[in-house]
């Protein structure tokens, strides 16, 4: 709902603040005009103004034009700077003391936002210029099309502020979250917390204003650095000004009501690899653990450009289709059921041993060359080593609740401390799952916002065509039809693939680096707008949206959630627990009746991988009696068997040149 804050009368009754002027050198056009104001004026870069053409006098009103100020000029009647020097006799102090102040002008350039009537499109009339009111802002930005009606789709994004006027600015959900347009890209220098704050506020706004007729909405946020997104469910500190802005925007200043945290384990397989490990909070964090099946489906992520060849692809497909989760005979008399990395490793070993033991040492197995198999084995082993904690060698996986996503819920996937390869894998798998589920409409929500920071890392403007980049391009270009919406953030927009940023229907800019603003992507902005962008205070943004013909500056309140930095201070991460304590704590979390000492006694002298496997199974099953289930999975204590003598194996022939 649009309402005035402090306007004493409608803008058309308020005295004008300027007048449109046009000269041969600076004419008014259908897209741009110039106007002057008094020297003391509230107008500034980014201000929205309204131009009224005088009526014809027969009751008809004239054309009305709304524009946004993009540049400003001030000059005096001084012919040349030399004359000022002469007048002051070379003394700057005297210049300031001159008895008369020179005539000055404040001349502004404005870009047209809208004209009514819209046809015929004509140059801006030389009329009076007024400061825009709330209603003017709504009309100028074409928000009237989606603010009202039976099914409004307006999402508050911030407050337009100029000259004492403060007007809410809304974006259209159909153009932010699809299907008309979608995606949001936000750029800005690091360290001001603007990008993350803006996305947090916008997600709050979306969750509170997402139109009911559009269904259910959720968000998946990848926490890729520090504790940025680790405390979304905790209230932050707000100033009175923030609360006032929330009220003005019609958004409740509260943290997210439903947040689910997912983080992989550390290498020990029992301590979570996240900064949200404070005892009061860690109970909310679900482990993110993937096994062979989850990784194999996205094995392409693991292969770099040099690796990608038809042979490796074929072998991976073979493993996925014929081997994993099936009874499989290796051709050397062994039968395998490959479920885990450990199973797969056993299979590989069996095959290689079999080939070597076979007469004259063949170099192919089931049409796959041994070098190809070794390469794939190497890559898969590599991921299980580098991402230990995320990828489990054995035991069941633990994943996001696919098919059971809740409405207005944020799913935070904390991969801040995960190896870059693992981050790619997580990103690829989660987004692919989202896409597949949304296509099948069985995700649990109708639209998902995927927030990815450091987009320049995942979809760089140059560099190799990685699987992740291809996937981001796919989301950018086709996600809007599915309800898969990318909210990407980066420091330098110019370093992000242009098809990714180009497909973002809504573009937000925080404070920008001057060098970045000098790149070709910002040529459409006036020098004054660039200066404003380079000096933008925290809490102010420039927004481009399909309904706005020009970028608009808005202010937004700081998010009502605990900032990552503050969260770490208030909830300091706990130190890593010893293996036994960590296992006990996880079982206690599953079943409060469990006594830690019982657990410790139970797992004493047991192999850690067995404990981890039993724990994972218990976590996945969530039985009534967690300890009993855990004990059963752990099995009886078995005396350690003496190590069997390794059978000697003859060296392989003809593969001495394979690099793996």
């Amino acid at each position: 709902m649009i309402e005035r804050r402090d306007a004493p009368h409608p803008s058309h009754l308020a005295p004008p603040i300027g007048r449109v002027v046009a000269t041969e050198q600076k004419p008014a056009t259908p897209h741009q005009f110039h106007f002057w104001t008094a020297n003391q004026t509230t107008i500034g870069i980014g201000a929205i103004v309204r131009v009224e053409e005088p009526g014809s006098g027969n009751g008809e009103t004239g054309k009305v034009v709304w524009g946004v100020v993009t540049d400003g000029f001030a000059y005096s009647d001084l012919a040349t700077p030399l004359h000022d020097v002469v007048g002051a006799e070379g003394d700057p102090a005297k210049a300031a003391e001159s008895p008369t102040v020179r005539q000055e002008i404040r001349l502004w350039t404005a870009a047209v936002l809208r004209q009514t009537p819209e046809e015929p499109l004509q140059p801006v009339p030389l009329g009076q210029v007024h400061v825009a009111s709330d209603v003017d802002v709504a009309q100028a930005l074409r928000m009237d099309a989606y603010l009202g009606g039976a099914e409004p789709t307006a999402i508050p994004v911030g407050l337009y502020t100029s000259g004492g006027l403060e007007a809410p600015v809304y974006v259209d959900a159909d153009f932010l979250l699809g299907p008309e347009a979608a995606h949001l890209n936000i750029s800005g220098v690091s360290g001001l917390a603007t990008k993350t704050s803006a996305v947090e506020f916008l997600l709050t706004s979306i969750f509170q204003h997402f139109p009911p007729h559009k269904g259910r909405v959720g968000a998946v946020c990848f926490n890729v650095k520090g504790p940025d997104l680790c405390f979304l469910d905790r209230p932050g500190t707000l100033q009175d000004e923030d609360r006032r802005r929330y009220e003005r925007l019609g958004v409740e200043p509260e943290p997210f009501r439903r947040v689910r945290y997912y983080a992989p384990f550390k290498a020990d397989g029992v301590n979570l690899n996240t900064l949200r490990t404070h005892p009061d909070l860690v109970g909310d964090v679900e482990p993110l653990v993937w096994g062979l099946r989850e990784v194999l489906d996205y094995a392409e992520v693991l292969l770099n450009r040099d690796d990608i060849d038809a042979k490796a692809d074929a072998f991976i497909d073979f493993l996925a289709d014929r081997v994993v989760d099936k009874e499989f005979e290796d051709g050397f008399g062994g039968v395998h059921r490959v479920v885990t990395f450990a199973d797969l490793e056993r299979l590989f070993r069996s095959i290689f041993d079999g080939l070597e033991l076979a007469s004259r040492g063949g170099d192919s197995w089931r049409t796959h060359h041994i070098a190809t198999m070794r390469k794939v084995r190497n890559r898969l082993a590599n991921i299980s080593t580098r991402c230990k904690g995320l990828v489990t060698d054995d035991g069941p996986s633990n994943d996001l609740p696919w098919g059971r996503f809740d409405d207005r819920t944020v799913y935070v996937v904390d991969v801040a401390n995960v190896d870059p390869l693992g981050q790619d894998l997580v990103f690829a798998r989660v987004v692919s799952q989202l896409r597949e589920r949304l296509e099948r409409r069985d995700l649990g929500v109708d639209a998902v916002v995927v927030f990815v920071d450091e987009l320049n890392k995942y979809a760089p403007a140059d560099g190799p065509e990685t699987y992740v980049k291809k996937m981001l391009l796919d989301i950018s270009e086709r996600g809007r039809y599915l309800g898969l919406v990318l909210f990407g953030a980066e420091q330098f927009r110019s370093q992000v693939h242009r098809r990714v940023v180009g497909n973002a229907g809504t573009v937000v800019f925080g404070r920008m680096d001057a060098d970045e603003l000098a790149t070709p992507g910002y040529q459409v902005l006036s020098p004054a707008t660039k200066i404003k962008l380079a000096t933008l205070p925290i809490g102010e943004l420039m927004v481009r949206h399909p309904h706005f013909t020009q970028p608009i500056f808005v202010r937004f309140p700081r998010p009502a959630v605990l900032r990552g930095r503050d969260g770490v201070e208030r909830y300091p991460p706990a130190a890593d627990l010893p293996f036994e304590d960590a296992v006990a704590r996880q079982l206690v979390k599953l079943d409060r009746r469990v006594r830690p000492n019982q657990v410790k006694d139970l797992i004493a002298d047991r192999r850690e991988e067995d404990v981890r496997r039993a724990l994972a199974h218990t976590r996945q099953t969530r039985p009534q009696d967690a300890l009993a289930h855990f004990k059963k999975q752990l099995g009886g204590r078995v005396a350690a068997a003496p190590a069997a003598a390794r059978e000697s194996v003859a060296p392989l022939n003809q593969i001495s040149d394979e690099p793996y």
Partner: protein, 338 residues
């Protein structure tokens, strides 16, 4: 071979002051060219006084008055020109914030011709029009050159009358510490010439008040100096007034009248005591410089500002246009805006 500038160097070497361009504005108004004479008031003869120690007059607000005239021939009745003229005057007041704001203005459009020389139809049309018609003298109605000169004089009179009217109105509203600075002479108006806080600033020097050594003293006045106060001899309808010269900028290297102003104030003993402070105050008005006006060496910026203001508000079709003067085929008269 003789160098072209050698004889100039020779005369300069002999004591002549070097000079260069003589701007058109230095020629002065052509309506007052005769010798009128003056009586020194401060001393028995015209003397030169330095302003080094003079403290500028401390003024509160100051109002500046100036006027403009614009005209063009819009038609001929037979060979008699019909002139459309616009005269305007304004007063802009400078307050404590050092900014100028308009406090009074007046404008008038007039037609200037010789009605009895116009064809009857044209005359009737002109008489019926909603415009004041001024007749120039019958003896000037023959040759177009004289007619136009006469018309120009009528325009100047109209402008002067507007200025006078506005100035006299302003005098009545002048605050106790406020001065009125007029571009031109005060002696055309009794009220102005008698007012204690009215100052005339004359930048054209067609009138000659001295001869011989006194004239040379006046016209070679050094920078930051003033002459003694003198009383111009009354001529015509002029009023008794005190006057003195002040030099704003060094004239050496330019011309004799460069930066030379003549000030007018009421003929009163108090004026003698104010001559130096007023001269110092005027000199302080050099900044800001009134460029790009070519007369900037003598034109006070506030006066220039008033003129700019008036020109900005004048009818745009009366301003000179650098238009082609190719014939208008088939037309009798160029179209004129009403």
């Amino acid at each position: 071979m003789t160098v072209s500038g050698s004889w100039v160097d020779a005369v300069v070497a002999a004591g002549a002051v070097p000079a260069s361009h003589v701007p058109e504005a230095s020629l002065g108004r052509n309506d007052v060219e005769e010798f009128t004479g003056a009586d020194p008031v401060e001393a028995g003869e015209l003397r030169v006084h330095p302003l080094d120690d003079a403290r500028p007059l401390a003024l509160g607000a100051v109002s500046f008055l100036d006027g403009i005239e614009q005209w063009r021939v819009v038609g001929y009745g037979g060979i008699t020109p019909i002139v459309r003229a616009h005269a305007a005057a304004a007063i802009r007041r400078r307050g404590p914030d050092r900014r100028l704001r308009t406090v009074a203005e007046a404008a008038e459009e007039v037609a200037i011709t010789r009605l009895d020389r116009l064809p009857a139809g044209v005359r009737r049309a002109l008489e019926a029009a909603d415009v004041r018609v001024l007749d120039f003298p019958a003896e000037d109605a023959g040759q177009p050159a004289r007619a136009l000169a006469a018309a120009r004089l009528e325009v100047q009179k109209a402008r002067a009358a507007l200025e006078r009217r506005l100035a006299e109105q302003r005098l009545r509203a002048l605050a106790a510490d406020e001065w009125l600075v007029v571009d031109g002479v005060l002696s055309d108006s009794a009220a102005l010439s008698e007012h204690p806080r009215a100052l005339g600033v004359v930048k054209s020097h067609g009138a000659q008040y001295f001869e011989g050594a006194e004239l040379e003293r006046a016209l070679t006045l050094p920078d930051a100096h003033r002459t003694g106060v003198f009383r111009p001899k009354v001529r015509g309808a002029g009023r008794d007034i005190y006057s003195w010269y002040v030099r704003l900028w060094p004239w050496e290297g330019n011309d004799l009248l460069y930066g030379l102003l003549r000030l007018e104030a009421r003929a009163h003993p108090d004026t003698l005591g104010l001559a130096a402070p007023i001269a110092a105050w005027i000199r302080a008005q050099r900044a800001p410089i009134a460029t790009p006006d070519r007369r900037w060496d003598r034109l006070l910026y506030p006066i220039h500002d008033v003129e700019t203001y008036l020109r900005a508000r004048a009818p745009s079709d009366l301003t000179s246009q650098p238009a082609s003067r190719i014939p208008h085929p088939g037309s009798r008269l160029p179209r004129a805006a009403s």
